[in-house]
């Protein structure tokens, strides 16, 4: 009897998970389907779900009109660079906060996080003027630096909570065995916190990939990433939904593939520390 109830509950849970998963995925699925429709089919009322004349014309048009490879490369560079740079700074910062805390550590952590509460537009002009001063406008290095700064509080917070899970005694033992600070961080702490570091890396890569305020405002032709690529297909005066969907699909495809292959690490990391 108990077994039957358990199986029934399992089935309900599975069904609920599938329904929620499909609901969340539906907008992405709809975007992908729309990208294979003609513009007229894209706005048809009632909407056409699967039975339409599939066409790849929108992809051809988008590829012809835009230099997709350049946008893609800029996205990879900016998202990858800002995440790695952020990790290099955040690992020692999180280590010191987790294992050598001071009276002010909690306040500093809270203050760091509070910078995320400021609307980005509030500091647009100061940052824009600084970028002009340093010749960093429309420059991938400048944008990498800004995105690193923006995501740094989240990286530090996530790593801090992962590191807190690791018993300090293990590090003490390593020190007694003669490990220096470098060995302690790289050979003892890092391997133990690897799932956490991996999920921090992936999550911040996704955040940087999708960032659409600074990437639109600080770039023009050379450093523009895929967010600008999508924005170039949106129009309030003209029905280009199918082309916009094709551009969106091309912009999210790399990150979807990355997410698909790294989902195990991502889930493991997210349930290991910070946001469990």
């Amino acid at each position: 009897m108990a077994r039957a109830v358990t199986n029934q509950r399992k089935a309900i849970n599975t069904a609920a998970a599938w329904i929620i998963g499909l609901l969340i995925f539906f907008p992405i699925l709809w975007t992908i389907l729309t990208s294979f429709k003609s513009e007229a089919q894209a706005i048809a009322d009632p909407p056409i779900f699967l039975f339409f004349d599939w066409t790849t014309e929108n992809y051809s048009t988008v590829m012809e009109r835009s230099n997709y490879a350049r946008f893609l490369w800029n996205s990879i560079f900016i998202a990858g660079g800002s995440t790695i740079l952020g990790l290099i700074i955040a690992v020692p910062a999180a280590w010191s906060m987790a294992f050598v805390p001071s009276r002010r550590t909690k306040d500093i952590l809270l203050w760091m996080l509070s910078t995320k509460m400021l609307p980005a537009v509030g500091v647009l002009y100061p940052i824009y003027l600084l970028f002009i001063q340093f010749g960093l406008l429309d420059n991938v290095y400048g944008l990498t630096f800004v995105l690193m700064l923006i995501n740094l509080p989240i990286i530090v917070w996530m790593l801090y909570t992962y590191f807190r899970e690791i018993p300090g005694e293990i590090l003490e033992a390593a020190r007694m065995d003669g490990a220096g600070l470098r060995e302690e961080i790289f050979f003892v702490l890092t391997p133990m916190a690897l799932p956490g570091i991996a999920s921090t890396l992936l999550l911040n890569f996704i955040l940087a990939w999708n960032e659409a305020f600074w990437t639109l405002n600080l770039t023009a032709a050379k450093a523009a990433p895929l967010t600008a690529f999508i924005a170039s297909y949106s129009s309030p005066e003209g029905l280009f939904y199918a082309k916009l969907s094709a551009a969106s699909t091309m912009a999210i495809a790399p990150i979807l593939i990355l997410g698909w292959f790294s989902q195990k690490q991502l889930v493991r990391g997210l349930t290991f520390g910070a946001v469990k």
């Binding site: 007229a40 639109l216 405002n217 023009a220 050379k222 003209g238």
Partner: protein, 434 residues
């Protein structure tokens, strides 16, 4: 010998590289509209003719506006040419942020630009942006449904006729709405429509002392008429419909009439995108017999920001893109219906273009709009669907949100007007106008 060959090769490569570096490349910010995208396709011809390269930054209209405003106010120098409209041009020209276009070549024939467009893109008589294409607004209607309703659309209808025709054409069972109009919040969306409409009802945004005028009978009449007509004959959820939503409805045969930008005429008469392409008629935007019609005037124009290092090359591009020759080029390759409209007088004198069904009504609409005299009573501002002051965009966005909330039934028309009055007066006081 080998050394000399290597030296020659290196020198030749260096010279080639030097020449490549010396070639100018213009960075142009533009909107994602059909005519602009078409122009991008012809850019290679400009490069072939002049040796000047072009890099495009194409953005959605609101993103573009925010992006170029940030750049020009901080002298960021990111763009050599900016695509801006009639709202920004006189303000930026007055601030000295744009290079005057008063030395364009004789072949360019600046005098050929339609006077209404040149006037709206100038400050103190100096042209600061060259119109790429211009638009007004007009009535687009289904000739078959009008005939079925037993009515005949006059060339210059009144609002009363439009309301009557809308009610007669509405067939809820067949999913046909008599009229589709913008109701979406945003100063360039529903805000632009209702402001242009209010002109024909005798309303204005400000009196001569910059006091808000939403507490007048004229504004109450405008909003009550709009809401009454749309509730009777408009589509469900009209409060959130903008240009694209109405275009979609019209093209699917779900609107009897649509009053919107003249550029839409080429979309609704294109059989590839419109199911009703062969049964569309055109008329001037309606009036109320007060001497002002409800059509607006707008142009997307190319301007050179002050401080660009490539002023001469930028002007060269502008001359190319807004020239008579460019229009000929597009007509030759894509037909006269697809040339950028509303910018040059000579286009409307061309017998080939006169054959396009909406050409004459577009011209008549543009000619009947005067940004310097848009209201029945005297007003202190220039502009038809906007007031060309820097504060307008922010104020009008908030006001249009209140109006949209009234259309959606979330508040009454009276409440919306009261809030609009308070928002506007407060902002104008803070800005030092009052």
């Amino acid at each position: 010998m080998h050394l000399r060959t290597a030296f020659c090769a290196v020198s030749a490569l260096a010279l080639t590289a030097g020449a490549a570096v010396a070639q100018a490349t213009l960075t142009i910010a533009t909107v994602n509209n059909g005519d602009m995208i078409r122009m991008q396709g012809y850019t290679d011809q400009f490069t072939a003719e002049t040796g000047i390269g072009v890099e495009w930054v194409t953005l959605e209209e609101n993103v573009l506006r925010s992006r170029v405003t940030t750049d020009i106010t901080t002298k960021g120098g990111q763009f050599d040419i900016m695509t801006i409209g009639m709202y920004e041009t006189p303000i930026w020209g007055a601030n000295g942020w744009l290079v005057p276009l008063d030395d364009l070549s004789a072949e360019y024939d600046a005098a050929d630009i339609l006077p209404a467009m040149a006037g709206g893109l100038s400050h103190d008589g100096t042209l600061y942006a060259a119109p790429f294409y211009g638009e007004s607004s007009m009535v687009m209607y289904r000739t078959d449904l009008m005939e079925k309703a037993g009515l005949e659309m006059p060339d210059a209808p009144t609002w009363e006729f439009i309301r009557e025709a809308a009610a007669a054409m509405t067939d809820r069972d067949a999913d046909i709405n008599g009229i589709c109009l913008r109701g979406k919040a945003g100063w360039g969306e529903g805000g632009a429509f209702i402001t242009a409409m209010s002109n024909s009802f005798g309303a204005r945004w400000f009196d001569m002392d910059w006091n808000a005028q939403f507490d007048t009978e004229a504004w109450a009449n405008t909003l009550n008429f709009y809401k009454g007509m749309m509730d009777e004959s408009g589509p469900a959820g009209y409060a959130t419909n903008g240009f694209n939503e109405n275009l979609s409805l019209f093209n699917q045969g779900k609107c009897g009439m649509w009053i919107d930008a003249t550029v839409a005429a080429s979309f609704v008469t294109n059989p590839d995108s419109s199911e009703v392409a062969d049964s569309v008629g055109f008329a001037l935007a309606p009036d109320n017999g007060l001497g002002k019609r409800s059509n607006w005037l707008w142009a997307w124009a190319l301007a050179v920001p002050a401080g660009t290092q490539q002023e001469a090359e930028a002007k060269q591009f502008i001359e190319w893109a807004t020239s008579k020759d460019y229009i000929e080029l597009v007509a030759e390759n894509e037909g006269w219906a697809n040339v950028p409209p509303g910018a040059r007088t000579s286009l409307y004198e061309n017998p080939e273009y006169q054959k396009v069904p909406f050409a004459q009504m577009t011209l008549d609409s543009i000619l009947s709009a005067d940004p310097n005299d848009s209201t029945v009573e005297e007003s202190p501002y220039v502009g038809i669907q906007f007031a060309a002051i820097p504060e307008f965009a922010g104020i009008a966005t908030q006001v249009s949100q209140e109006f949209s909330a009234a259309y959606a039934g979330q508040q009454s028309v009276e409440e919306a007007l009261e809030k609009a009055q308070a928002i506007t007066n407060e902002a104008m006081e803070a800005a030092g106008y009052r």
